[in-house]
Symmetry: D2
Subunit: 166 residues, 4 copies
Amino acid sequence: MKRPYIIGVMGGGSATVEEIDAAYKLGRLIAEQGWILLNGGRAAGIMEASAKGANENGGLTVGILPDAGPVGTSDFIQIPIYTDMGNARNNINVLSSNIIVACPGGTGTISEIALALKNGKKVICLKFKPGDVFKTNEQQGMLFYANTPEEAINLIIINLKNIAHG
Amino acid sequence: MKRPYIIGVMGGGSATVEEIDAAYKLGRLIAEQGWILLNGGRAAGIMEASAKGANENGGLTVGILPDAGPVGTSDFIQIPIYTDMGNARNNINVLSSNIIVACPGGTGTISEIALALKNGKKVICLKFKPGDVFKTNEQQGMLFYANTPEEAINLIIINLKNIAHG
Amino acid sequence: MKRPYIIGVMGGGSATVEEIDAAYKLGRLIAEQGWILLNGGRAAGIMEASAKGANENGGLTVGILPDAGPVGTSDFIQIPIYTDMGNARNNINVLSSNIIVACPGGTGTISEIALALKNGKKVICLKFKPGDVFKTNEQQGMLFYANTPEEAINLIIINLKNIAHG
Amino acid sequence: MKRPYIIGVMGGGSATVEEIDAAYKLGRLIAEQGWILLNGGRAAGIMEASAKGANENGGLTVGILPDAGPVGTSDFIQIPIYTDMGNARNNINVLSSNIIVACPGGTGTISEIALALKNGKKVICLKFKPGDVFKTNEQQGMLFYANTPEEAINLIIINLKNIAHG
């Protein structure tokens, strides 16, 4: 069996209309590639929008929830994983993704970028500039910037070629 | 969207030929019902056999791994979730399942039965007798016994009717 | 530096007067040995009583809480560790203890006994009979039974001699 | 019982001589205040140095380890808490601290600053400039900068006054 790639989409629980549109489109494009979309699973912001984009376009969606049960879970998540671990679940999000796209967000999203890099995972920032804190990682070819969902998909395709995968 | 049910299959990392056969058949029957099979994800014992049974018969398989990455993951797991949490991931296994089937196992399986009941989840013991430690739970209609995979499936069907599900 | 031993005391959130008395006495005896008492940290049942027994008799008490913050924490816990992990914190309880005493409890306590044994830790059941589910572990010299707190302390002393400790 | 304050000290597993000296001094000053020092517990970099500074000057030290057991634990940690959770334990570090000091570090330390702020904890950066990613948090009075261990201690004293504590 060849496993489908799992693309992690991180980002804030609240987002602007433009950010929501980009996250939906990103979800759609991930589904069209035949990849699985994984995110934080809640019915809010980037999580809801990216899951909706994938789910409405034939993609499979996995949510890693901070909660113990379904209250607050996005309706567009087909496979909810309940951790009951709060923000500690952010580490599971990144470990379970072959590559991570970071959409605009706050400290939760920053923690996910940092944990991804700490665990040796590549990160693509989509219309999100976390400042120069990750400059070294950028120089090491672990962090990338994209201005559109299409650019993010291209960066994923290029980088997946170099990722060992079962 | 109506989410498919997720059936957790717990059991030992080592198992007899007869136990392996029963786990494979259970996996197959779960797939035939259109349910998702969730287990501990490793390439060993009940985990490997039940994932194989589901995967080879058109089912979707999710593994909640104790590890940080793919070494030791069953080839029959399509969606591996890497927790890097060792045995603490047992709690995620049971929280993420609508109902749990406990096949023969050791202390890891006992911990999963106990955590499932602690979290209010129903448990069906398939050819596995953990003794009278869970007698109260049995009397409360939370723990059941099955002698064959078919009996386990019937007990799942009966009990899923009373489980709220998104 | 020689670290003090850490004794894990597990047991139910509700308990009889007699069980509370035994847990208090166990906490006192642990403190008198110069050991640290570690438990689940909540202001209820065996946790509250054992922490009180140690704390009121000069002992140091560590609580591994399922919660994210202090609501519900026992006043007799001097060092509360907040995990925000619900029952998954049970694995941390047993990993962080050199030896575990299991007082009467329900499925949470059973999960802790099972996780302790799974992780290679010795368990002393104090006035608690979990049935024959752990018979093999008893035969392997990993599980013991005590009828009084004094007997439990003696069993701890005997077994600590064979435990590597930094 | 009035619990002692717990001060979290975060920072890299590798560090310059100057950073090691500052971390040792910070540990000593924390001990002299009667506070408990909490860190990631490993025998490396800022963790080792800050634990040594506290331990050699009469302070109590708690380490929240990513590991399942004592290999790699700092000798200056008196109370090691074994999580077996890898980097997910970073969330426990910050939840269990009344306030956090971030010494120079890499992505692990950045994740801890982000998780601390996400959980509503105040962070003092000691000779560490994570760039403008946390500018909003600084403006909200949640993130502070110190140039010396003494300045960090003063900032802790000022901020502890406004933190509810059991």
